[in-house]
Amino acid sequence: MQNLVSMRQVNKDEILRLIDLAAQIEQGKIKPDLSGKLGALLFFEPSTRTLFSFDTAIKRMGGNSIVMAGAGSTSVKKGESLADTLMTINQYADFIVMRHKVEGAARLATEVVDIPVINAGDGTNQHPTQAMLDLYSIFKTQGTLQNLTIAMIGDLRLGRTVHSLAQALSEFNPTFYFASPGHLQMPRYIKDELRAKNVRFEEVEDIKPIIPKLDVMYVTRIQKERFAVLEDYEKVKDAYIITPDVLTRVKDNFVLMHPLPRVNEITTDVDKERYAYYFQQARNGVFMRQAIISQLLQLV
């Protein structure tokens, strides 16, 4: 692996290898040494959460970072091409972590620079490190990725996180339930891909009956900024609110996941329940990002 741009290019073995590496880093069995290395965190589109997670991962391994947050302060505003910006950074840093609102921007970066590139989100396309930390979280709590029953709830149409996760898990014989309000269903191309791989999935409206079957429930935020008309957002925003009452009949191994930030789709009184896993999930993100950086820079 030279870059991490898309989950499409990460096979089953590589997924399991990265999970194993993240686990060893978390348990202190492997301590990758990033000292003397400089990571360029190029956040053309702001995302404090993802930026902090990467910066933490870099600094936990003794590395250093230069940060560009938002395109406002840079030459990007002056009309410099993305390729030129990247070529310049290529002269300074040892690897690039890049987030951009334009789809395919990270792929372009890999063709312009000769240092490793990690895609930290390109528009509605891919966010592979999020998918990998989700897989690590599932593996940690379930002890396997194989044969799990997983519900995905919320905005499944525009949420790239659930797309990448569904695609990645489809290699591990899952059973999926999808629940989304209004027009926010899982896109047809994802469902076509799942059918082509003989993955069992069902689109449900009422989530109550499926709760006792679930190993994992993955809830996503319904993003206000994706709606042109505010009333449309108001209509669907409260379609699925997860409270402790909704989750009374869960299995012992059940976990509730969310990529964060949440708005109101999981009420705060769920946080104290043993299955509430979203903050640990964020913590797992740092170990997984350490694993990814170590792998790409061949530190391990």
Binding site: R8, V102, E103, L108
Partner: protein, 154 residues
């Protein structure tokens, strides 16, 4: 309809290229993609001709023009059924069924307005993911499109 009648509709050419068995309605698209300009290229187009094999077909005849491998690949994308016939002195010298390529470099425009190829000045690239019917995936934004929803660069 008899073959004689069809001949009356589209005259034979002395030398050049005949593109036969074009999916009905696609001849003009092919003419566009081949960048055929009427003053330079004497061209005859038959649209919606009767075909025993296909029901309806288009045919395109171009005087004094041989097609490149690249052009033939483009034609295969627009009409996988097309036959390309090279003519010299009214005689068929070569007959080809062009193959759909695996990748398409800088020939198509990505329909996704938020794709990096529509924001930065870079060539496009698509991978062919299905062949019947043809669909392609953008190498950059990874969106998949049916070929008829994708515009060619002229």
């Amino acid at each position: 309809m008899t073959p004689v009648k069809e001949k009356l509709k589209v005259d034979p050419i002395k030398s050049g290229t005949v593109i036969d068995h074009i999916t009905a309605g696609k001849a003009l698209v092919i003419a566009d993609v081949l960048n055929l300009n009427p003053p330079e290229n004497l061209m005859m187009i038959g649209v919606n001709l009767h075909s025993r094999k296909m029901g309806a077909k288009d045919i395109l005849k171009i005087e004094n023009r041989r097609l490149t491998e690249d052009e033939m690949n483009s034609i295969a994308l627009i009409s996988p059924t097309a036959t390309i016939i090279a003519i010299k002195d009214f005689v068929v010298v070569e007959k080809r069924h062009p193959a759909i390529p695996d990748t398409i470099s800088d020939k198509l425009i990505c329909p996704n307005p938020n794709c990096v190829t529509n924001v930065e000045q870079i060539p496009t690239r698509f991978e062919v993911v299905d062949r019947d019917p043809v669909s392609v995936r953008c190498h950059y934004c990874e969106k998949k499109y049916a070929i008829q929803d994708v515009q060619f660069k002229f």
